[in-house]
């Protein structure tokens, strides 16, 4: 299983800060489509995905235990 961390409006939309998803062996791009299909997160276009605290490209491969996070457009500073 993999933790998928949610922040900002995605966290509010989902009503929780974390999803549990079995994404082992899948790519970030595949996970994105699964999240859009099976979870109440809306369209994830424009949302970046982090893999173990680093921005990941769509072809990056997810392994068991990897920590995933959905990163909406940032607005710090």
């Amino acid at each position: 299983m993999n933790k998928v961390l949610l922040f900002a409006h995605l966290k509010e939309q989902a009503g929780k800060g974390k999803l549990e998803v079995n994404a082992s062996g899948k790519t970030i791009g595949e996970l994105r489509r699964i999240l859009e299909r099976d979870h109440e997160l809306g369209n994830l276009e424009g949302i970046m995905i982090a893999l173990n605290e680093e921005f990941a490209k769509d072809d990056a491969l997810i392994q068991t235990g990897d920590e995933i996070a959905l990163i909406p457009p940032v607005s710090g500073g």
Binding site: F7, A8, P73, S75, G76, G77
Partner: protein, 154 residues
């Protein structure tokens, strides 16, 4: 520690003390505060949320990038999260260097970069509502690049 995510009020002098040193002749500080009016709308307070572990990593990455681009600069960055009232400090950046041009340039680079790659979000609270704010052009990864000139106006 060079970079920090904190829930406590940020003290400008503390940032200054982190970077001042005998080799430095110039220290620049940028202090981002909660502004009351944005596009004519009155903010009551802001709420900042972070993906803390990654945000800290990204701040440290920015400090490292600055050291590569401007050898000799030393950097300290602190970003506050949680509820912030008007005039509270959201972020403070301190840069010291032997001469002043790098101190200004590197400091400005830091804030532009923070607004691009650091996973921190703010929620505006107004009298008639609230909203999570996203940047206008989406988070940029810039694995090796520098921020563009297009976002020099927030």
């Amino acid at each position: 520690m060079t970079c920090e995510i904190t829930r406590e009020p940020i003290r400008v002098d503390e940032l200054y003390q982190k970077v001042v040193r005998r080799e430095a002749g110039a220290v620049t500080l940028f202090v981002g505060t909660v502004r009351e009016l944005t596009h004519g709308k009155r903010t009551l307070f802001l709420e900042y949320e972070a993906y803390e572990a990654m945000a800290l990593k990204k701040l440290e990455q920015i400090a490292a990038e600055m050291g590569e681009r401007w050898p000799g600069v030393q950097t300290a960055i602190t970003h506050r999260i949680g509820r912030l009232d008007i005039s509270d400090i959201a972020v403070a950046i301190a840069v010291s260097s032997p001469h002043r041009p790098e101190a200004y340039e590197a400091n400005r680079y830091a804030i532009e970069r923070i607004k691009e790659i650091v996973p921190i979000w703010k929620k505006e609270h107004w009298e008639d509502g609230e909203e999570w704010v996203g940047n206008q052009q989406g988070t940029k990864e810039y694995l090796d690049g520098k921020p563009g000139e297009e976002e020099l106006d927030e």
